[in-house]
């Protein structure tokens, strides 16, 4: 049952193991709705692991074992009655390397929606969704004349935007983004960053990033992780100006990786 909704994502006492290796320790995460929350920390501290446990895609790895509580939009998503497919439709994910499928631009955007609608989805509805989704990610004008072309021929920036657009037709409410700009050049990075900032009006966004400047520019709240533990969380401005913990200060000032 849904509880009154304070946080869009909330984890309590989340522990995660890959086999014998513990990757997350008692993580208590809170992500406010319709804001961008950035997740920072040195390489290997468990950012991707945390992100991937929220839409439960981590469970596809045989050795993964999880303990604790994860609530998304007030629902306990580790409960047995939760349908993972439904969860993943509400919680979209963007990956580090843009991963369009080897299909046309149109087929990529409508991929999830068509399968969701079974045999014969309505064509006009599809075209309308296609335009709406591509407009939403500021790609429509650039690709509207070549919707039938292969998505793999687009620039990396366009591919990444397409990967975001692809999520929209199945109507997510939360977007998980795992270093979505790390494969992009600076110009493309700021374009995608602007898009993320724009999307927060409609979606709750959890953004993993290595880029301190990006976290500062493009997030409302910020969470700092170190070695599988959540060290500090707070409004981005405060966390960067007056970090409460020594480790946070050290990391922000670039004293580790």
């Amino acid at each position: 049952m849904a509880e009154p909704q304070a946080s869009a994502i909330r984890t309590r006492g989340l522990n995660l193991w890959y086999g014998d290796f513990q990757a997350l320790f008692d993580v208590d995460l809170d992500v406010a709705p319709k804001q961008v929350t950035s997740l920072i920390g040195p390489s290997g501290c468990g950012k991707s692991t945390l992100l991937r446990s929220i839409n439960r895609i981590n469970e596809r790895i045989d050795s993964v074992r999880m303990e604790g509580e994860i609530r998304v939009l007030g629902h306990d998503v580790l409960a047995p009655e939760i349908e993972k497919a439904q969860l993943r439709k509400r919680v979209g994910m963007v990956f580090q390397r843009p991963n369009p499928l080897p299909l046309s631009i149109r087929d990529n955007v409508l991929f999830g929606w068509r399968i969701d609608h079974g045999g014969r989805p309505d064509k006009d509805e599809g075209e309308a969704l296609l335009e709406e989704s591509l407009r939403r990610v500021l790609l429509w004008d650039r690709v509207k004349d070549r919707l039938g072309q292969r998505a793999t021929g687009l620039s990396l920036e366009e591919q990444q935007k397409l990967c975001i657009a692809r999520l929209l037709p199945v109507q997510p409410q939360v977007l998980l983004m795992d270093e979505p700009c790390s494969a992009l050049d600076p110009a493309a990075t700021s374009a995608v960053e602007e898009l993320i900032w724009e999307l927060r009006e409609q979606y709750t966004i959890l953004l993993v990033t290595h880029n301190m400047a990006q976290a500062r520019r493009a997030s409302d709240d910020c969470v700092f992780m170190l070695m599988g533990k959540l060290v500090e969380k707070g409004p981005t401005g405060e966390l960067f100006l007056t970090p409460q913990r020594q480790e946070t200060a050290d990391y922000i000032e670039g004293r580790y990786g």
Partner: protein, 289 residues
């Protein structure tokens, strides 16, 4: 400071030596292939004609064509494929997409490897015991094809699994993260992107099946039959066995006849292999990842 030293010269000599050695070895590989093909063409080409493929053997199999053997081989291979492809592909999908790495999976993998190593004469005996006698199919196309299917199953499984595993994990994750189930992902992402690879494996299986002699001889192929099979419970003639018969069992066969049969057999295999190479290159060109 960068002059060549005695040691460098020695290294260079060794380098050249090995290069030539390896070149020779790869030559050794190619020579017999061309020798066999050339020899077959030289000896067998005079026997080839449209009539050779479409008429019956005559004069106690010392003249005439190979129609019933050709027809029978198509039957045998066709039925074997009908059995081995669905089972093999399904098993490969399970192993590649569903199976966890546990003892069950390891036992299955071990079984596949061992099945691939069983000599064909053993498969033939198994076929007799299981399909001809136990299931009472008699010596028939069905028994022979099932034997062939069991024999080639590991080939299908291994090649299909490789084709599936060549599909990037990122594609699967893209699909999963859109809320598609495992099966939807297999159906709409994995299979479309591995289809030509799977087909290649199947064609290679066919070309192996076409030439098998002992298993079909024990289980369903006859030396000579005056009629064409009409159902899978009939016996049939087969190309491979026919070649064996006209070469060793029938007196007074003109020399070109067995070579003609062999040539047709090898042409079937060659055509299939070229088809599989064609598929593979088409797959490579289509693949942009």
């Amino acid at each position: 400071m960068f002059e060549r030293t005695v040691k460098d010269q020695r290294n260079q000599r060794t380098e050249r030596l090995f290069r030539i050695l390896f070149l020779l070895m790869s030559g050794v590989l190619i020579v017999p292939v061309f020798a066999v093909l050339g020899f077959l063409f030289y000896k067998g080409a005079p026997a080839l004609s449209w009539a050779f493929l479409t008429t019956w053997p005559e004069d106690g199999m010392t003249a005439g064509g190979i129609l019933p053997a050709l027809f029978g081989t198509l039957w045998l291979v066709g039925v074997a494929l009908l059995v081995s492809v669905p089972i093999g592909v399904a098993a490969a999908i399970y192993l590649s997409e569903y199976a966890k790495d546990n003892w069950m999976t390891r036992v299955i993998n071990l079984a596949i490897i061992n099945l691939a190593g069983v000599p064909s004469i053993v498969h033939a005996l198994f076929g007799v015991g299981a399909f001809v006698l136990f299931f009472e199919f008699g010596t028939s196309i069905l028994a022979a094809s099932l034997t062939l299917a069991v024999m080639t199953l590991p080939v299908v499984i291994v090649s299909t699994r490789e084709a599936l595993q060549a599909v990037p994990q990122a594609f699967r994750e893209a699909s999963w993260s859109l809320g598609n189930t495992r099966w939807q992902t297999i159906r709409h992402v994995v299979l479309p992107n591995s289809g030509s690879g799977i087909l290649t494996g199947i064609i290679l299986e066919v070309s192996r099946t076409v030439g098998e002699t002992v298993p079909v001889m024990f289980t369903g192929a006859a030396f000579f039959l005056p009629y064409l099979p009409t159902s899978v419970f009939d016996q049939t003639m087969a190309m491979s066995l026919h070649l064996f018969v006209v070469t060793t069992q029938v007196p007074g066969v003109p020399e070109q006849l067995p070579f003609g049969v062999a040539l047709v057999l090898i042409l079937m295999v060659l055509v299939l292999n070229s088809a599989s190479i064609l598929f593979r290159s088409r797959l490579r060109r289509r693949k942009k990842w």
